[in-house]
Subunit: 396 residues, 2 copies
């Protein structure tokens, strides 16, 4: 318990302590930790210039021992009231803070690790084949995305223009995407990199990954469908990918760890589980304020530890600030699907909103908010906050 | 003509002046320009600290007017002997210089712009379909690669481990790639970025792209074949991509500009040609010193100006240091193919080397060097130097 005025059931209590980058007025952005509805300025409270940076990268690069000792020091400040004199001058109400992209992104990789999502999309995109490709249960499929268009939560998303061609069209046409979608995902931020030629085993996940955020991988389904064979998604994704402002450290997720679902067939030895890195995150997707889906992250077939092991098994290096995302999180139930293309089954079964309108895909002006919580100690919840974005009309 | 002792037919005369990053002994890396077989230290010669950086990025970010005036100033130093006193102390023999990665890489995109290459690979990878996918002649197909594993020329390439599954195998196995390959490509370096929501028209290519280098996109064909459906290449490429040390500025390639091949069907208006940005680069691929291919870049179906226009038409931003590569350059003739999978037709028709050995794919110890020249003024050639790499055995 903290001596600060934070509700005992706050998802941002001392069991959480997520990191972000904030600024107040015209001051330079710096690193803070969220406690309740306030931000603790770490450069001031800990008297450490590594937190005076406009990104978490310098701190993350210090590695897991520094992450642990910093978390201990912050916890002590917040639970022992004798530190009131140090803490109070370093607190800013969240309402007065502007939140920034919390880290400088190295490489961005997007996985495809939900069996339910991959099966649903496979049925729609490749109706004459098995929904899962033959490789799907042998390796966590992933691809590189555009790191330069990773955007802080709240950045408006302009509907992209591009080529699209319906199966019946004789030739592609150019114009605004007609099938603009979301993908509710969970992102993993590499804090301590790994050199070229040094694969990261499944068991060393927590020595490299600093924390977890939420990702909305905005997707243009019509651009994607026309371009993606044979080299994968490109412009259908690269116009923007939004991330939540708070990076929840792995240490805050000890109570969220669960065994992943059983895998059949058994994966190759380099992908064998080592520690339970399934995570029981309860995600909620809201469209214009209305809850439209509750994707359960614990259903994911591949864990983030397996994703990192796979991504590096060929000797590829990782860097501080690399982001990899899970792919769309979808559960087995219809109201657990993490994309509109699944919720509306390719637009053929539009779903109703309480205002009487229906949606197949996103309309201009639509606002999407993805949030999540996870189990914490003693029945508390660990909050991720939310990643939001509003659709602006396409450029003329 | 320069007053320096440089052969009149040197591919590194004053008509070229490519930029790189070099160091001597333990001194910090800094920006230099190659003249003949020497490097001119620009921070010293021009008395400008922007060149004291270990990457071209700060200079490139200054934009096309600065690129032009800097080239004028360097040219003047080298053609007017009155500057001998300034120039000579700033020269280092190339043999004494260590060359580094010339720029800090933002995003890396790899295109697939050779019709001959795409047709050859299509025939091998998808024997029961048309060699070109239906989208191929409508848009320059591309995908994002791993920027953290862009390597300076000469970095040893360790044979990657990974999953591979031959069509007849019941299940994938794990181990060293058996079909390790090269891809001879040309890379384009973005100097002046473009903001989110601002597509770069074909006609504005030269306002954004700073220069051109050579790329070897090392490829593991067995890893790639098993993983790439449906989201594209990942571990089959991400273990390493080598780039040449010298960035040839666009201004040095005025005499290399040619009309691209005729396009049929006519591309959509945003991809219409505006200025001839086909480039007459003559590439040579050497394996253990033996010339094995001469890919002609002028045969490429899509120009780099079209690639940039496509990459940004959805509103995606670009940043200083972004690299995009052409994809394998292959010409219509068998000895113009830019990858071993084409030269050996999937390994089925191994080709002979003068030492009596044959190759389907790369063997441990093989060394690959890709070089290129382009037409310059008055019959001179513009040299790109080379990108090299030697295969090390897989990790045990």
């Amino acid at each position: 318990m903290t001596w600060l005025d934070v509700a005992p059931d706050s998802p941002f209590g001392v069991a959480n302590l997520p990191y972000g980058v904030f600024s107040v007025g015209d001051a330079a952005p710096r690193v803070g930790v969220r406690i309740g509805d306030r931000v603790l300025d770490l450069a001031t409270a800990l008297n450490d210039r590594v937190f005076a940076a406009p990104a978490l990268n310098p701190f993350m690069a210090q590695g897991p021992a520094a992450w642990a000792s910093t978390r201990d020091r912050i916890t002590e400040l917040l639970v022992d009231e004798r530190h009131r004199g140090v803490v109070e001058p370093a607190l800013t109400p969240l309402a007065d803070a502007r939140l920034h992209l919390p880290f400088e992104v190295g490489d961005y990789v997007d996985f495809y690790a939900s069996e339910h999502h991959a099966s649903n999309v496979g049925r729609m995109f490749r109706p004459n084949s098995d929904p899962l490709t033959p490789n799907w249960k042998h390796l966590p499929i992933g691809y590189h995305g555009r790191s330069g268009t990773i955007l802080p939560s709240g950045t408006p998303i302009t509907r992209p223009n591009g080529q699209r061609k319906a199966p019946d069209d004789a030739a592609p046409t150019f114009g605004p995407s007609r099938r603009l979608d979301i993908e509710a995902e969970v992102g993993f931020v590499v804090g301590a990199g790994s050199p070229l030629g040094s694969p990261v085993p499944v068991g060393e996940f927590a020595q490299h990954v600093f924390g977890v955020c939420l990702v909305n991988d905005w997707s243009s389904r019509d651009l994607q469908a026309w371009e993606y064979v044979p080299l994968g998604p490109f412009l259908g994704k690269s116009f923007g990918t939004s991330v939540s402002p708070w990076i929840v450290p792995l240490a805050a997720l000890e109570h969220a760890r669960v065994a992943p679902p059983p895998r059949d067939p058994e994966p190759l030895p380099y992908l064998a589980d080592d520690g339970d890195w399934g995570l029981d995150l309860a995600i909620e997707v809201r469209l214009n304020g209305h809850l439209v889906s509750r994707p359960p992250f614990r259903e994911m077939y591949w864990t983030p530890a397996q994703m990192l092991a796979h991504m590096t098994v060929n000797g590829a290096s990782t860097r501080t600030g690399d982001l990899y995302a899970s792919g769309t999180v979808s559960g087995p139930e219809p109201d657990q699907r993490g994309s509109l293309i699944e919720l509306s089954w390719g637009g053929k079964e539009p779903f109703a909103l309480p205002d009487g309108t229906t949606r197949g895909f996103l309309e201009d002006g639509d606002e999407v908010a993805i949030s999540a919580t996870a189990p914490g100690p003693n029945g508390a919840r660990i909050g991720f906050g939310e990643v939001t974005g509003r659709i602006e009309p396409a450029a003329g």
